[in-house]
Symmetry: D2
Subunit: 373 residues, 4 copies
Amino acid sequence: MGVFTVRDVSGMRALRLSAPDDGSGFGRLDLVSVPVPVPGPTEVLVRVALCGICGTDADACRFRPDNTSMFGGPISLPVVLGHEASGEVVRTGALVTRVSPGDLVALESVLACGTCDTCLRGRRNQCENVVLTGLTAPGALADYVVVPETACHRLSLLRDSGWSRQDTLLAGALLEPLGCVYNAVFVEGGGIRPGERVTVHGLGPLGLFAGVLCHIGGASQVVGVDPVPSRRELAQHLGFSACLSPAKDHTAPPDTSLLDAEVHVEASGNPAATLPVIERHLRPGARCVVVSRTDLPTRIDTNPWVSHAARLIGARGHCGGIFPSLLNLFAAGRLDPATLVGETLSLEEVPAAMARGATATSAGKTIVRVIEH
Amino acid sequence: MGVFTVRDVSGMRALRLSAPDDGSGFGRLDLVSVPVPVPGPTEVLVRVALCGICGTDADACRFRPDNTSMFGGPISLPVVLGHEASGEVVRTGALVTRVSPGDLVALESVLACGTCDTCLRGRRNQCENVVLTGLTAPGALADYVVVPETACHRLSLLRDSGWSRQDTLLAGALLEPLGCVYNAVFVEGGGIRPGERVTVHGLGPLGLFAGVLCHIGGASQVVGVDPVPSRRELAQHLGFSACLSPAKDHTAPPDTSLLDAEVHVEASGNPAATLPVIERHLRPGARCVVVSRTDLPTRIDTNPWVSHAARLIGARGHCGGIFPSLLNLFAAGRLDPATLVGETLSLEEVPAAMARGATATSAGKTIVRVIEH
Amino acid sequence: MGVFTVRDVSGMRALRLSAPDDGSGFGRLDLVSVPVPVPGPTEVLVRVALCGICGTDADACRFRPDNTSMFGGPISLPVVLGHEASGEVVRTGALVTRVSPGDLVALESVLACGTCDTCLRGRRNQCENVVLTGLTAPGALADYVVVPETACHRLSLLRDSGWSRQDTLLAGALLEPLGCVYNAVFVEGGGIRPGERVTVHGLGPLGLFAGVLCHIGGASQVVGVDPVPSRRELAQHLGFSACLSPAKDHTAPPDTSLLDAEVHVEASGNPAATLPVIERHLRPGARCVVVSRTDLPTRIDTNPWVSHAARLIGARGHCGGIFPSLLNLFAAGRLDPATLVGETLSLEEVPAAMARGATATSAGKTIVRVIEH
Amino acid sequence: MGVFTVRDVSGMRALRLSAPDDGSGFGRLDLVSVPVPVPGPTEVLVRVALCGICGTDADACRFRPDNTSMFGGPISLPVVLGHEASGEVVRTGALVTRVSPGDLVALESVLACGTCDTCLRGRRNQCENVVLTGLTAPGALADYVVVPETACHRLSLLRDSGWSRQDTLLAGALLEPLGCVYNAVFVEGGGIRPGERVTVHGLGPLGLFAGVLCHIGGASQVVGVDPVPSRRELAQHLGFSACLSPAKDHTAPPDTSLLDAEVHVEASGNPAATLPVIERHLRPGARCVVVSRTDLPTRIDTNPWVSHAARLIGARGHCGGIFPSLLNLFAAGRLDPATLVGETLSLEEVPAAMARGATATSAGKTIVRVIEH
């Protein structure tokens, strides 16, 4: 049991990001004590077990010299970070019917309104009034978090399959980042056919997970490119066919034909460097899925896209439809959560880790153990 | 080297099917000696190494009491059977540019005209003037076969990957039946997303191969149903999650929820028996791919298809676009040809094997070694 | 203004269906006075203007000799019928943000829970806990109806485009049945490419609307088949290329090649009669969309589906994503609501019209003017 | 009958492009007399009636100061230009079965080999050994042209529908450019759903035709952007909802929300100017189809593509599967060839027209009447 529970105090720990006042360019991250939130009628109070750290969290910590946020997406400061979480339901609103206290759940973080024009068009992932846990609503780098019932995915399939509580919660915390690349490659990107080749540019967690899922989805070859040796080693260990270091200037990749692929995944956060490489390795009908963000404009040469009938496909997040498929893969033993994790931190260790940019070069997903079991 | 080569005789062996004259219901299968054919300017002479036996071959042997063919598709009797072949190029026509003597090749058996309205609409697999090797043109259950250059797929990828000549030719002979189910599930059927569940009804070679490819393609569960124990055992050995025997009357399947699936494959040749089972196990948005044929009408209840937004998708054969992906899977080690093979026959043994209906219950693909290496 | 408003009485009129007690096979339809419902926090009270009558309503009225319902789908008797409605928002719950009193709205009738496994898989239209306005929840053949905010689609685009209040409400009442065939043909059915041919079997409102939408969607030919002359005439008037009467036994259609199509729509409610015709007119790669229901089993011959790589696709209802596209078509002048309407009834006239089976042969959608303007 | 026929001379006129020797930057275009070609066994000799001039033809005429070609694609100089042709079959090779002398035909210009790896993967449009009529093989700006039988599409449907010989040949000559945008929007681009909005950037023939086909395909709004008034007028006349002139610097488009669209077509040849505009008007799930070429690199901002799950899709040419659908649209009266034509030239007038850059600003397709009827 954790050092801090809902029963013995009126407050809880929460990792709060606020704008800096010193022009340092890096947001303030404070572990504060705040009241345990109370769920509304259609909401659920979840005791957080595990919560991943995402490149988005690092981006959210970047500020301009005038202390304004550099974050590209919506954010409401100050905010409790954390949007890749699993935990246990401890209280439910009066109208909640599908989850109960004691249920282990994973949380979906893109909360669509359901009533805006974009939602009504069926594009809930692009909801005009979207609420983002950990960015525009209090997140899960806290002992407790309140979310709508519709954001809770029960993990009973894994428990029923004989998984331990700990493994189940770890799988649950990985669903959100896995879901992002599943959405990018298999929903927005149209998927892959068995025997197609995949090249992944950038082997941070998103790129790593994309390659793993493409391997599961029948790719005959998955090649990864990243300058960090430990990332290449982990990818190789997880089934990548080959992993290469990019040339410094991305103009002389080490093995041309090995990068040829029907599916490219841009996950480096630096498309200005990778797209020229990708353009030389587009196969006819190729898809290039972009899952990373950058502030910088990117140069493309439209000719290879036109000649090869290739397409560049942007994607981020996910909103429904994906977690059950990932849970099936976990339950079937096709995904092993332990292999996907890099560093494990306590909540107290997060600010320092963020300050030293730990997620920028880590191999595997960084996971915060919010409450020890 | 084989016992029979093009160099020392003016003829070759060929397994010829002709209509019976005795009302027995079973076609005459004679191993005859015929002249070695001469390739035209755009054609290739191939020395056949291996050739699979298909349910279609068995169907082609069925005749009515009045000695007319019961075969549902096009057939020109008498005909040399055989359409799942690999071999070595021994002579090429004057205009042939892409294959050379000595090349190991697999043969595509659906030969589209390219100029009929249906071909011009891009539906070459449904060509109105289609020529079918082994049914309307001389087939590959013979020492040699002539095919258009466009029907030849070089197997150099496997040789270059260090495969033996024998394994390469075996993989080559399996491409045609693998291609049929690849076309059915991943082209016409729209494919599967990782984490979807598949139920395969009928574990003959097509059903077996469909399940194997769905597993490779990311299915979290592949369940097989077949009354023959050896077929279930082989499927289980090849990665099926579970294999069941159907209830005698198909009204009481042994484990209801286990058959629930997003993708059903009807490969039993008896959809009248399997479709009522399938209709009880359609998940929302389910696809049911029908790869087998039957003479008999089938009863369906349209309501579950309407309620679940499910679809029934017919498919047969393939014409282009698939062999390279399968070769990639072989080269990547994701498909092992040896595991997919059942009985191995010599050319001389085929008539007796056909007469005793050997393919109807065999586990794995029956392969004929036309010329011993 | 109507003869009956929320202001001057404590009750409202509602057309209530209950089980019969006389073994007549036809449900009791009573125009009763009931309290005006009160919207909950996320709900909206709508004054109904227009409400279409659907084949589903007729089906809901069918009972067995023992007075049990013959209806195939979910129904909670007694129930106020009506699920194809438009009206004006008159009151909103405390949490409603997107619609306001005075807004003209169309109502979506499939209300997904959002939290069941099927909703979480993104298949909200097949929600396991679905609430169906007019079948399992009080419907819109009443002066007022309460629906969730998420079921309301504002019609302001039409008003802003200069449409009259009356035309706007008429377009709104047509969105639900138009949405059913839009979902069937363009979402589940994969759509049509310009220059494809369409044959519609059954020219009731669903078949008629399917043909009209396929014409808008680029079909080069839309042929309708129906025994009722007035239905054929209306279809012809709305842009069908040709309309035929089916042969009595459906074995000898009057013009074979005219029925050849890449897309068939089964909207007759009698697939046992139409599918054998359809099977003779499947073009390579054809889709047959089934939008009607029947109690009776249907015989199919799987061979033409296999040979032509054709598919049979079931579909019903819709849940999100479609109304905005239909409103765009209305606003652009590509759909004219007045042309799609057949008989117009008052609420009082509905029971008699249902009793005489008026909707079974009517040309165009039967519309009930609930409150006169 | 024309002034120049195969019967009375041993030669024919042909418009030959060769490299300049004067550093002028513009290729030599000579109307030369060359022998009438003789068809091979699978080829057809066609008397050319009409042949369109394409932006590709203009690009092929651009040379560097050192007299080397600036053309981005494959070209074999000197070459007879012309790849958008219709005509009459006058002689057929011995193996030709599907067309006969006297048949009116349209010519497909992308001639796939059928045997390269890319063709065998089903991507014939990206054939590695592609032969391009009018670029790497003698083209149709000549009295006669020889093409493979598979490149001939008979126009009998139009004649059988009562079309005049002249209108039929005009429709035939338009199939190639119409096919390019049909391929881009409806094949590679995935098509549009009725009620979606389309914005076309650049109203040369490709952009104009794209908008016309999107209108036919159910777009509720088609907005065009082009600086040339006559192009905007023609587009408006052909059913575009609105046509705008771009701001000079493309940073201040005149009506923001009017450009919002689910489908953008880049047909300006200047994506560096249009993509920043397009990025501001991407709707969720938007597709941007790029059908034009440029030498210049283009800047994109990946963020809006990522946020909106939008995709950029390149496409050029077409190889099979499209002409029959377009012919259906012509026969059904949904496309009127006369309205799509701009300037009409004689063969003799082409060099001067090319020299003055006539196609760069023309409204409608420029057509050359090779042989007067």
